[in-house]
């Protein structure tokens, strides 16, 4: 990284994933997240640069597009393709996952709101790619969707179906006991934007995705335990 206008608090590493490092810091005095896609020594340097800048560009563009469309996602502050760097707003709040686990009052309404946000996002031709309740931060009652590292532009029913499927599977594994009301609320919110017909179509697709290959086997194993 170059030496821009760091000020205020000391940088703090939030997460060191396989894809990028997340650092909490400030940008022009505002709380910010620095997401850096670090070079990989196992990749040809030219290929490495190509992949990092392509992915950085896609992620930044998607966050920016969604923000301009008025959706609750972090604001984009700064991008450097050659450094694989995105600086964005740090959304201060609680993870939706934790709020559901703590059963705070109104968590069902939050999930319904999230359903609306996801429906709007899909309507704009964006799929998230890693839709879990850990990737939703609630600030002042609004569910902000974060981490668009695996997001892409797609309006195909298959991709939309996978997005919804991933969300349901995450709910099943993380919030097993309130799974039903959470799922219902999600689809209520989704339908209020996209319509019942579309939800029916997506549910069909999700069913088809779940019947593919190993998910079926996984369910059978669960039953046998």
């Amino acid at each position: 990284m170059t030496k821009p206008m760091y000020r205020g608090e000391t940088p703090k590493i939030i997460a060191l994933g396989a894809e990028a490092a997340l650092i909490k810091h400030t940008f022009l005095g505002m709380p910010a997240v620095y997401k850096v896609r670090l070079p990989k020594p196992y990749r040809d340097p030219k290929l490495d640069l190509r992949l990092r800048s392509e992915r950085t560009a896609t992620e930044a563009k998607i966050i920016h597009d969604l923000r301009l469309a008025g959706l609750p996602v972090p604001a984009l502050y700064y991008v450097s393709l050659s450094e694989g760097l995105i600086v964005m707003e740090y959304v201060e709040g609680d993870l939706l996952r934790d709020l559901i686990n703590r059963r705070i009052s109104g968590y069902v309404d939050l999930v319904r709101e999230l359903g609306k946000v996801i429906a709007l996002m899909h309507g704009l031709g964006v799929v998230h790619g890693d839709m879990t309740t850990s990737n939703v931060v609630v600030r002042e009652g609004t569910p902000y969707v974060i981490d668009f590292g695996l997001a892409k532009y797609s309006s195909e029913l298959e991709d939309v179906g996978v997005d919804v499927h991933l969300f349901i599977r995450a709910v099943e594994s993380t919030h097993y006991d309130v799974m039903e009301e959470v799922t219902i609320a999600f689809f209520e919110g989704y339908a209020s934007i996209a319509g019942e017909e579309r939800v029916k179509e997506i549910k069909e697709k999700v069913k088809e995705i779940r019947l593919r290959g190993r998910y079926v086997e996984e369910r059978r194993q669960k039953r046998n335990k």
Binding site: A18, K40, P41, Y42, L51
Partner: protein
């Protein structure tokens, strides 16, 4: 305990004999079907197996200095693999089991690649990267099975490499002196050019069919040098595998990586894995070339582990399972 194991899932009819104490491996005899041109023809391979089987079995027993009566069980790879090939091994194993009154032990070929890798490298609880002609799987042991964290959505890495070099006229033979033709061709690229070909990683999964089509089209268009296409294709394919492996490590928190399967023999791939592992501070263990490819020893060894946990099958129920996936096989001995 002494187990005789039979491998016949694809191109190799192999018989291994193992013991439950050092030096473990008593015999390792193989007959490998090498097509004159093109890929493996399942019927041709199975006919070849039928001709070679009696000799291979006799030679294995002779090497070990044993008779059938000294053996405590017959292990056989019932899948995954090519039907006609699998049936040869299964038929022989069933017959031996009934005739000599020995327990028959069903073995999953993919599990066997992992178990022999663990035995030889000493890996305890690794993230497994299984790369061969027929498989591309990132897995780890969780609760009784090797669970799949990532895999190919279409063609396996080995199949992709073989098809590419065959279609551009570099193979067969696919491997010369332990080096795949794709690696060999890539090394000739002086400029190490990265051409514009698709790199597809979807979450934890990889996909190579689009890369294959685009690379072949580029070669046929004559717009790029073959060696540059080889270099790009190799860099993209290997990088994609390592990227999903790195995600697997981040996800599972495992401290070692075990490379198994025929493609694990590539030294280029290995050095890339080592670079990634150094970054994440984990160990890389690679099955040595001798046991990386298909063999009977791995079937015998896995059969031994299985029999010790009471896993057997009635001969009349021992059907071959062409699509017996890694994560469908129970591994009661797998707890690290």
């Amino acid at each position: 305990m002494i187990i005789l194991g039979i491998e016949s899932t694809a191109h190799t009819f192999g018989v291994g004999i193992v013991k439950d104490e050092p030096e473990y491996i008593l015999a390792d005899v193989r007959a490998k079907y090498v097509p004159e041109k093109g890929g493996i023809h399942p019927r041709e391979a199975s006919l070849y197996f039928m001709r070679e089987a009696p000799r291979v079995i006799a030679e294995a027993l002779q090497t070990a200095g044993l008779r059938m009566n000294d053996v405590d069980g017959i292990a056989v790879a019932l899948g995954p693999g090519m039907g006609p090939c699998l049936r040869v091994g299964a038929t022989i194993a069933r017959a031996l089991s009934v005739y000599f009154n020995k327990p028959l032990i069903p073995v999953n070929h993919a599990v066997a690649h992992i178990e022999i890798g663990k035995l030889i490298t000493g890996a305890k609880d690794p993230l497994i990267v299984y790369l061969s002609g027929g498989n591309t799987i990132i897995a780890a042991f969780v609760a009784g099975r090797y669970r799949i964290f990532g895999e190919t959505l279409d063609i396996p890495l080995g199949n992709f490499m073989d098809t590419f070099v065959r279609e551009v006229g570099l193979a067969p033979p696919y491997v010369v002196k332990g080096m795949h033709q794709l690696d060999k061709c890539a090394e000739e690229s002086k400029e190490k050019k990265i051409l514009n070909l698709p790199y597809v990683v979807k979450g934890q999964d990889v996909s190579f069919s689009g890369l294959l089509t685009a690379a072949l089209r580029l070669v046929r268009s004559g717009k790029a040098k073959l060696e540059d296409v080889c270099y790009t294709v190799r860099e993209i394919a290997y990088s994609a595998i390592i990227e999903v492996s790195e995600r697997g490590l981040a996800h599972t928190g495992k401290k070692e990586v075990l490379l198994v399967g025929g493609v694990a023999a590539s030294s280029v791939l290995r050095s890339k894995f080592e670079a990634m592992a150094a970054l994440r501070r984990v160990d890389v263990k690679v099955v040595p070339p001798k046991y990386a490819g298909d063999n009977g020893v791995m079937i015998a060894w896995t059969g031994l582990l299985a029999l010790k946990h009471g896993v057997t099958i009635e001969p009349e129920r021992a059907y071959v399972r062409q699509r017996w996936k890694l994560d469908q096989a129970d591994v009661p001995w797998g707890d690290p």
